[in-house]
């Protein structure tokens, strides 16, 4: 993993939150190399004991926030709400759930009652 180009960016957060390093690594690589987002940064979410990823899609200039986790983790609504607060109260965050077979799935989580798109 140390040889991987992403490692230099992620090393500090992976050392600080070793339990979350696997999902951070997987989500970051997917965002940068597969989704090909621009201006990708990592953010320290101390209240959630993990790092988050911030960036924007190629075709847009709206910042989007990714909070990675693994399938085996136990989350809570408290943790999700803390993530919103720590990221500066965006209208939505994307929970990226990673698994051991390298699949990753993103779900949009918004605060409040938000109607589904038509």
């Amino acid at each position: 993993m140390n040889q991987h180009p992403s490692y230099t960016v992620l090393e500090p957060l992976m050392a600080k939150y070793p339990r979350a390093s696997g999902s951070l690594f997987q989500a970051y690589n997917d965002i940068v190399y597969a989704q090909e987002w621009c201006d990708v940064e990592v953010v320290d979410l101390e209240k959630c004991a993990r790092g988050a990823i911030k960036g924007r899609k190629k075709s847009s200039n709206v910042d989007m926030h990714i909070v990675p986790c693994t399938l085996s983790e136990k989350l809570s609504t408290q943790l999700l709400n803390d993530a919103f607060v720590s990221l500066g109260e965006p209208s939505e965050i994307y929970l990226a759930t990673t698994s051991e077979d390298a699949s990753i799935v993103y779900y949009k989580i918004s605060t409040g009652i938000v109607k589904p798109p038509m």
């Binding site: 399938l71 136990k74 989350l75 609504t77 408290q78 990226a96 759930t97 949009k108 409040g112 109607k115």
Partner: protein, 316 residues
């Protein structure tokens, strides 16, 4: 509370920890004025699986009952206690009424039969047809008697009475035999011995103390009450969410007019364990049904609800 105040509140009949509503006008009022739908649970006795035609009683969710009691819209009546033991005078009076009803029905049946007979015999065609029918029957009976005789000589003497009975057993109309229908009213209020006044409760606490109501009795039930109240106060109608994998279906208006936009799940506390797989499953199901999934978290200390909406990200 005065009897007048009590009278203006809708009575819910509680039996075995479930609240029933038998009055159709009250059911309409609960729906149109208070946005509470409940479920009609009366069905057809011979086809109870059907759900195209449902009738009273209306059964309410315990959360709906708690909301309505706390808002002073309904009172709870301990129905078993409200049915007192009738005294002799009351029983005699009731019995006299029943007998009068039965006599009425029998008289009506007899009148109906007489009218049928009259109309039947008046028509000439009918007389002719009846004659032909009786002739055919007689011939058929004769033939049957002959066949039986040929088949088995031992029982030939029994065949005649059998065939005679056969012709007699086909009546041409319903001859009144003194039968009548017993009808059981849906509401007990007309019975002299039904007295709900001493068994009426206008608060949840008093009903719980009396032992006729238990909800809410733990954190999960308090959470459900809190979430239900919060959604209701925002103007939503709620229905059961079991068909969509949630606790409630949340409608922006009357379910007869709108589709629901949300499936809601109640989370008992902000620190309750939530697995990523649940979020994915809820989100997936919501997206497949054109709804959003709502995670409604109850904070038992602050007595508040916070909402998170889940939707598929459409990328990745």
């Amino acid at each position: 509370m005065s009897a007048d105040e009590q009278n203006s509140k809708i009575p819910l009949r509680v039996s075995n920890n479930t609240a029933y509503l038998w009055n159709v006008d009250d059911i309409a009022k609960l729906r149109s004025k208070h946005h509470i739908c409940g479920i009609l649970t009366g069905t057809l006795p011979h086809l109870s699986q059907q759900n195209a035609f449902l009738g009273i009683p209306l059964v309410l969710l315990p959360e709906e009952v708690v909301l309505l009691v706390e808002n002073g819209i309904v009172v709870l009546i301990d129905d078993p206690t409200a049915h007192a033991q009738p005294n002799l005078v009351e029983i005699e009076s009731w019995n006299n009424e029943q007998q009068a009803l039965f006599r009425q029905q029998t008289v009506a049946n007899e009148a109906k039969f007489a009218k049928q007979e009259q109309s039947r015999s008046l028509s000439e065609d009918a007389i002719q047809k009846r004659k032909e029918r009786e002739e055919r029957r007689r011939l058929a009976a004769q033939k049957l008697a002959q066949d039986v005789n040929n088949d088995n000589g031992l029982f030939s003497t029994e065949s005649e009475p059998v065939t005679k009975e056969a012709t007699l057993a086909t009546p041409q109309s319903s001859i009144p035999t003194g039968t009548y229908t017993i009808s059981i009213p849906a509401s007990s209020e007309e019975y002299q011995w039904y007295s709900p006044h001493h068994a009426t409760f206008s608060t949840i606490e008093s009903a719980q103390k009396a032992g006729i109501w238990t909800y809410p009795s733990n954190l999960n039930e308090r959470a459900r009450c809190g979430v239900f109240r919060s959604l209701s106060e925002q103007g939503y109608f709620m229905g059961s969410g079991v068909k969509f994998g949630g606790d409630y279906l949340v409608y922006p208006g009357d379910p007869l007019r709108y589709h629901s936009h949300f499936v809601a799940t109640v989370i008992d506390s902000p620190t309750q364990t939530l697995r990523p797989m649940e979020i994915i499953a809820h989100g997936r199901l919501g997206t497949a049904t054109k709804k959003s999934h709502l995670l409604c978290t109850w904070d038992d200390e602050k007595k508040q609800v916070s909402y998170l909406s889940i939707e598929w990200a459409s990328f990745g």
